[in-house]
């Protein structure tokens, strides 16, 4: 039924939304399409799974997962982003893909390639509104991701650090002349986007109760698609794009079939890029000055 | 006789700020003209409007009698106009000779030319011609060097030679003498005089007034995107508006 599918679509969309916002922070501020983020998403789910299996309390396992993602993200900054400044834009992209491949294979060596069952952490409680069934984990995740994005938006708009970040996004040279300490701010942004991706990974694990070394690819790439559909560099674009892609995926699965997901989702992306490359919310680029 | 370049009522604004306002002037054939004015007066913008990097908001641009106002930037070079760049825009991964071959494109643009394996023939016609042009400017020793690593003065000359290779009758040079040492400036002056002797018309943006004085017959002065004076430099220099624009009034 449609209303139920819309709820499910919004839930999946919330995860894409977090990923899209993570990508937006990297690309909007640092001009870096950071393909290690799907790996950090996976790391969030897998590390938490590993520690829970070892018998750690959930809170510690989750914290360890977030810390691991942040730490790896700092390595990405150091080895994929920092050395490439001023070079061809595709080089850091490829190095960050190297990190994705590395993380996936390290997890593969440790856990094997099978899907692992993530324990049910939230009591299996459902709310019913008429015919709608909403799981408590589902609702909690949706609320948490919306709150995260709202907080981030507030942070960027209303704090001194947020203004510095927006200054770097608009013009990095000007930011340096204004005394913005990019040496501190850039690693901070890498940590922030890693945490967003890892939280998305945790929410995914809790909701769908499964993790695997390759769980980041599909979700991560759809996060990129969501960011572009909404409009690169805009948080609200990422939100809109994430929800749209989530809905498109769930609705096409339930009304057409699982095999066509890539056609609808990436077809939508391709269409947007041809018709309106700047995305639904976004400004077109202007021609350079001589 | 048609002018090499004629601007009529050109207006351009960026984000609401007027960059060029109702600007009109002519560059007659064979009259070396300088476009001068304080920083930010809009000189480079004029070059960008003429070469088509930006479209004008109003007015017409005519090159050698051809109205190019609405012509795409790529086609304008076919009307006989070529330019150099203020910040030396050479293809830094290519060699000097290869940059020259790119500069020749407009005269050698057929599909056959595109697919001829010219690199297999050491004495290919177009290569010989490019080498000759380099030799004329004393640059032949650099021909096979990658441009990126060359000294500033050399790159500046390469930028100029590349512009001449389009076979244009009107050359627009954006600060050709900027950053050159005195002997390089003298060499440049000689080079430009050779071009003038070949019948090429020059329009020059330049800050070095000695240099302008030594080659230009006519001077157009811009300030705030408007023409404030025009005439020979010796006359323009006396103009109170020009002095105000450059030196500023002394009473605060």
């Amino acid at each position: 039924m449609l209303a139920q599918q819309i709820v499910n679509g919004l839930m999946l969309g919330a995860i894409y939304m977090l990923m899209a916002v993570a990508f937006t922070l990297a690309i909007g501020v640092l001009n870096f399409l950071n393909f290690s983020l799907p790996g950090l998403f996976m790391l969030g789910g897998m590390v938490a799974y590993g520690f829970i299996k070892l018998g750690w309390p959930t809170v510690f396992a989750f914290s360890a997962a977030l810390a691991a993602a942040a730490l790896v993200s700092l390595l990405v900054e150091r080895f994929a982003y920092r050395p490439m400044q001023g070079g061809d834009p595709e080089v850091p992209l490829v190095s960050s893909l190297g990190f994705l491949v590395l993380l996936e294979n390290l997890m593969l060596i440790y856990f094997g390639s099978d899907q692992q069952a993530f324990p049910a952490l939230v009591p299996d409680l459902n709310f019913r509104f008429g015919g709608l069934v909403i799981g408590i984990a589902q609702l909690g995740s949706l609320v948490l991701s919306v709150l995260l994005v709202l907080w981030l938006s507030w942070f960027l708009n209303s704090t001194a650090t947020g203004r510095c970040i927006r200054t770097v996004a608009e013009n990095r040279d000007t930011a340096v002349l204004m005394g913005v300490d990019t040496g501190r701010l850039v690693p901070m942004l890498f940590i922030a986007s890693a945490l967003l991706a890892a939280v998305a990974g945790l929410l995914f694990a809790v909701n769908y109760q499964q993790v695997s070394p390759f769980m980041g690819e599909g979700v991560g790439f759809k996060g990129v698609a969501a960011m572009i559909v909404g409009g690169m560099g805009s948080i609200w674009g990422a939100v809109l794009g994430g929800l749209l892609i989530g809905l498109a995926e769930v609705l096409s699965i339930s009304f057409i079939g699982a095999d066509v997901v890539n056609i609808t989702v990436y077809g939508l992306l391709l269409l947007i890029l041809i018709v309106r490359p700047q995305g639904l919310i976004g400004r077109p680029a202007t021609r350079e000055k001589l | 006789m048609t002018a090499a370049l004629s601007l009529k009522g050109i207006t351009k604004s960026f984000a609401g700020v007027h960059a060029i306002q109702n600007l009109s002037f002519e560059v007659p054939k064979g009259v070396t003209t300088a476009l001068i004015g304080p920083n930010g007066a809009g000189k480079t913008t004029v070059f960008n409007l003429v070469s088509g990097v930006y479209g004008v908001d109003a007015g017409t641009v005519t090159v050698n009698g051809v109205d190019v106002t609405h012509m795409p930037s790529r086609k304008r070079i076919t009307t006989g106009i070529a330019r150099s760049f203020q910040n030396i825009r050479l293809m830094s991964h290519l060699t000097v000779l290869e940059n020259m071959l790119v500069g020749q494109h407009v005269r050698n643009s057929s599909l056959g030319a595109l697919l001829t394996p010219y690199r297999l023939f050491p004495n290919h016609r177009w290569k010989v011609q490019a080498r000759e042009a380099l030799a004329e400017s004393g640059l032949e020793e650099w021909a096979d060097e990658t441009v990126g690593a060359l000294p500033y003065g050399v790159r500046k000359r390469i930028d100029l030679v590349r512009a001449t290779l389009a076979g244009a009758s009107l050359l627009m040079l954006d600060e050709p003498a900027a950053g050159l040492n005195p002997s390089e400036t003298n060499a440049l002056r000689d080079h430009l005089r050779t071009l003038m002797a070949k019948g090429i018309t020059l329009l020059v943006v330049e800050h070095d007034m000695h240099f302008v004085d030594s080659i230009c017959q006519n001077v157009v002065v811009l300030n705030f995107g408007e023409k404030i004076a025009e005439g020979p430099l010796s006359q323009v220099r006396q103009d109170p508006k020009v002095r105000e624009a450059y030196i500023g009034s002394e009473e605060a």
Binding site: F221, I263 | H93
Partner: protein, 283 residues
């Protein structure tokens, strides 16, 4: 030649063809992250023609390649209006859509895969790869290659010099797509089986890796990159996962130290000069 060595060299030949398909547009500054999609078009189209219409594969392979090139042309015209990351994402999406379409196309077997009747042996594949390399060497001697670099280096100035930047970009993109389709068509007829899952994102991405690793400044870069990536893992006697993990570390460290790639113009010039001096001294 032992069966093992032949098998490795065949993989190398396919990787070389894919690498040049990525290299052509990349030399003009356009990152194609959907090369696997164009390989799929060449593979499926040529297989379909030999299977269903009993075409000779020597006719079907070029037609498959041409169809991939045509798709590149038709898609390239609208997509190449975008730049940089937008273009990379558009090609990425395109690759995903193409392989998803084949996955759902029942006339070519859908998800079950598509067996191919005609067979081309290893020497045929080698000849195809050598043909592609020769074509690239030829192109690298022409103004077309010069303009690719010019467009990448400074599109605005190239435009002002009268070069049709869009034309050059679309041509490079479509030609790259045709080369990918050519490789894909040989792939189908060598392995006698095509499945859409093979033409996935990782294939596209790894191909881009070879090319950037080898370096895009010279025509030799993709060849060296593909050779290294195909042969080096064979020498690493480790499990697949360790192999990939070590490889990923190697890529990260290498790109951080030498972002311009292994083979560069200055490297070539340096060795050429060295050999020239040495032969003079010998004489």
């Amino acid at each position: 030649m032992s069966g093992y060595l032949t098998g490795v060299l065949v993989v190398l030949a396919f990787n070389v063809m894919a690498a040049y398909a990525v290299y052509l547009p990349l030399a003009a500054g356009q990152l194609n992250l959907g090369i696997a999609g164009f390989m799929a078009i060449g593979a499926y189209a040529s297989a379909f023609l030999t299977n269903e219409y009993q075409w000779s594969m020597w006719a079907a392979i070029p037609v498959g390649s041409a169809l991939a090139g045509l798709t590149g042309l038709l898609i390239g015209i609208p997509v190449l209006r975008t730049h940089g990351i937008y273009l990379a994402m558009a090609t990425f999406a395109l690759g995903q859509v193409i392989s998803a379409v084949f996955l759902n196309l029942e006339v070519v077997g859908g998800a079950a895969g598509y067996p191919v009747t005609d067979y081309v042996g290893p020497y045929g594949v080698f000849a195809a790869a050598i043909g592609v390399v020769l074509l690239m060497l030829y192109l690298s001697r022409t103004r077309f290659a010069l303009y690719l670099t010019a467009v990448k280096s400074d599109a605005t100035v190239a435009d002002l010099m009268g070069i049709s930047v869009r034309g050059i970009q679309v041509a490079a993109f479509a030609l790259g797509a045709a080369v990918a389709g050519f490789g894909g068509a040989f792939y189908a007829h060598h392995y006698n089986f095509v499945e859409a899952q093979h033409f996935n994102v990782l294939l596209s991405v790894f191909t881009v890796l070879y090319v950037l690793f080898g370096g895009t400044q010279t025509v030799w870069g993709p060849l060296v990159g593909a050779a290294f990536f195909t042969l080096a893992p064979e020498l690493l006697r480790a499990s697949d996962q360790w192999r990939y993990a070590l490889f990923a570390i190697f890529i990260i460290v290498f790109m951080a130290m030498r972002p311009q790639g292994l083979v560069t113009t200055s490297l070539l010039r340096f060795t050429r000069r060295r050999t020239a001096t040495e032969s003079e001294e010998a004489a």
